[in-house]
Symmetry: none
Subunit: 218 residues, 4 copies
DNA sequence: TATGAATGAGTATTCATTCAT
DNA sequence: TATGAATGAATACTCATTCAT
């Protein structure tokens, strides 16, 4: 509240300012990704959209990949929020699982570029060493957090921890595969609705869970 | 049979030589994809690996994308062969479906770069107009052919055409999603074996098919 | 009529065949120039339009520039024909001069690409040494021949040889300049009609000639 | 006046420095044009002569054509200066017209490459869309400004606006044609002096003007 | 904290030409 | 007489990144 308080405030303000600029850049990057796709998302383009010089970004980020990584992180955070909010109104475990899984699917169905981002960064489209362990773990954590409601619902339905994890993988994998088919237009090849298929899959998982849980109880 | 035969032979040889060169380049391209990934697969890199000048490739291919497309085509052809061969020894429909699906999965599990290729080309990572309708349809056809054994087996198990198609999509999507998790190392996150999960999924599909087929019969 | 006659015939035919192929190529080149302009007139393009491989042209021509030169030569020949034919029906020297000059102008007004060709080849847009003395002189001769009717008419109007030459240069230069303005659209800058201006100029030359010729006679 | 003045100075210096670099590049481009001609004036060549990397030019110019356009603009500016200065010492309208026209002619007689530039850029040797309307108009304006003294002198000699414009076109076209003949060596064909012919032409224009002006007065 | 300036490596593609066949 | 194959040099332009200021 005196000097040190003032310093703190100043530091806080300073940090906030810096953070704001990062925010600005990241938002610009997100926008570029959305409109231009991955190929068009050059540092120059991002900088331009943010109202900066390319060189200026290097004060806020170590490299282009670092920007990418953080954009992905935010994307995962938004995904997490969306899933969490969707599940909020549901009380029954079955509905919670279904809703959570479909929210996950819906997010990427509506935001194909976010899926691209994930594909790109989670794969090798990057510098030799990738993002670095630290970043990688942070991303993993964000993804896990987004999927937690599914796992929780599975547990609520009587699954053990390990079994719940498998349900999650199953939903995740299935959703991802369907989304790929959806966004590449390949799903038309099979004359199928991606989201209907996803719902089917989820419901089958739920049924299986119930079955095994009943069996365990008996 | 003599002179004209000689001419024919020469023409044949010429064609064969040209084909060999194409082969050489395509093999080089495949190799570059495998070791350098998609981003590193520039025309010069491919040319260099093939022992050619970049300009020389343009004698054999119209563009870089044309090379890409053909490499993908071959990849799909190899996939098709693998699935077809795997299914050859199986007579029972259940086993045929399971084997076919697992062969599909196995191919991409062992050849991650082929998966990359498919992702890349089937998505928008290409020139504005993509590969052109013709090429696109050829690729679709090759993919469909590779998946046919799965559909056939489903039909043999009593599925109608449309239902069989859904089984295929289901397997395809699930496999794709699991492969993505596998190749990005994300599957460890869930402490799961991709191929075991795939097998589970397939068997569940088979069980569902049998169930509905029995119901229909009754 | 016997052996040597047969040989002659064969040789003639051979020469004719070769000539025909040259013709074919030159016509292709002309067509390419006309539709694609100078920049688009690559050897490959010319060869393609002629139904040949680029390499094949080297059997008939020494270089790309040689093709250009011959196309220009033919262009000048056509120009010559046009002027000569236009003048054919005129008997009166005044009308002959006017008609010849306007035919020259008209040819290039209607065939802008031919003007381009002349500009390009007569200037430095070529290999260090240009076309070689021989070719250059041939082109000069063709141009001179095309302009001869103007000179002749001037002489018929009483001009000495040297004076007649000046009339030719004057018409040639004026036409060229106007054509340049015409084909670049710059003439609109001055709200003027190129061909009307040309006619004015020619008539002024004629008047001047008459004046000086009358003076000389007196 | 201190801090803000310093900032201004810095900004000024910055702008000046940038301008200097542009100047450097443009001068290099001009030099390349002069020694290598248009065909040899590649970006790399210009960059090399300026002591730069090709990429560096893109910091100062948007494209190769932008460099071309600016070089041409400067060329026209120099032309304008030359004409304006030549006319400065003349007071009598007749002499002003003659001097202005001959200065125009003289400029291009002495700087053939500037003529080339004009030919190239004013014609279609450019990107599909040319230089863009804006640039095109700026170039037109520069050319018009250079020719204005001729028009003004014609008006001073009693010509109406439209008639003056025609005099300008006439001189411009004639000069251009003669210059073409001159620089291609074709004028020797006619054993004529280009500048003498130009002077003749101009004087004839002046005489005509006087004549019509006298007639109008009477 | 940001910019202006620059780099060097890279991109796909085109060109005229050559040569063995 | 013609081709298929290849070359080497060239083209304009883009990129992520660096550094002095």
């Amino acid at each position: 509240m005196d000097q040190s308080g003032g310093a703190k405030t100043r530091r806080k303000r300073g940090r906030t300012k810096a953070q704001e600029k990062r925010e600005l850049i990241l938002e610009a990057a997100r926008a570029v990704f959305e409109t231009e796709g991955l190929e068009g998302a050059s540092l120059r383009a991002i900088a331009a959209r943010a109202g900066y010089t390319p060189a200026a970004l290097y004060f806020h980020f170590d490299s282009k990949e670092a920007v990418y990584a953080e954009v992905l992180h935010r994307s995962l955070a938004r995904l997490g929020t969306r899933v969490a909010e969707a599940v909020l109104t549901e009380t029954e475990p079955t509905a919670r699982l279904r809703t959570a899984a479909m929210a996950f699917f819906g997010f990427y169905a509506e935001n194909p570029r976010d899926l691209d981002l994930g594909f790109y960064l989670f794969r090798g489209g990057m510098k030799p060493a990738g993002l670095g362990r630290e970043r990688d773990e942070a991303l993993n954590a964000a993804l896990e957090a987004a999927l937690r409601p599914i796992a929780d619902a599975a547990v609520a339905l009587g699954a053990e921890k390990r079994q719940a994890a498998l349900v999650v993988v199953d939903c995740f994998a299935h959703a991802t595969g369907l989304l790929l088919l959806l966004h590449t237009g390949r799903i038309r090849m099979f004359d199928a609705s991606a989201s209907a298929l996803m719902l089917d899959h989820v419901d089958r998982q739920i049924a299986a869970l119930r079955h095994s849980s009943n069996a365990a109880r008996a």
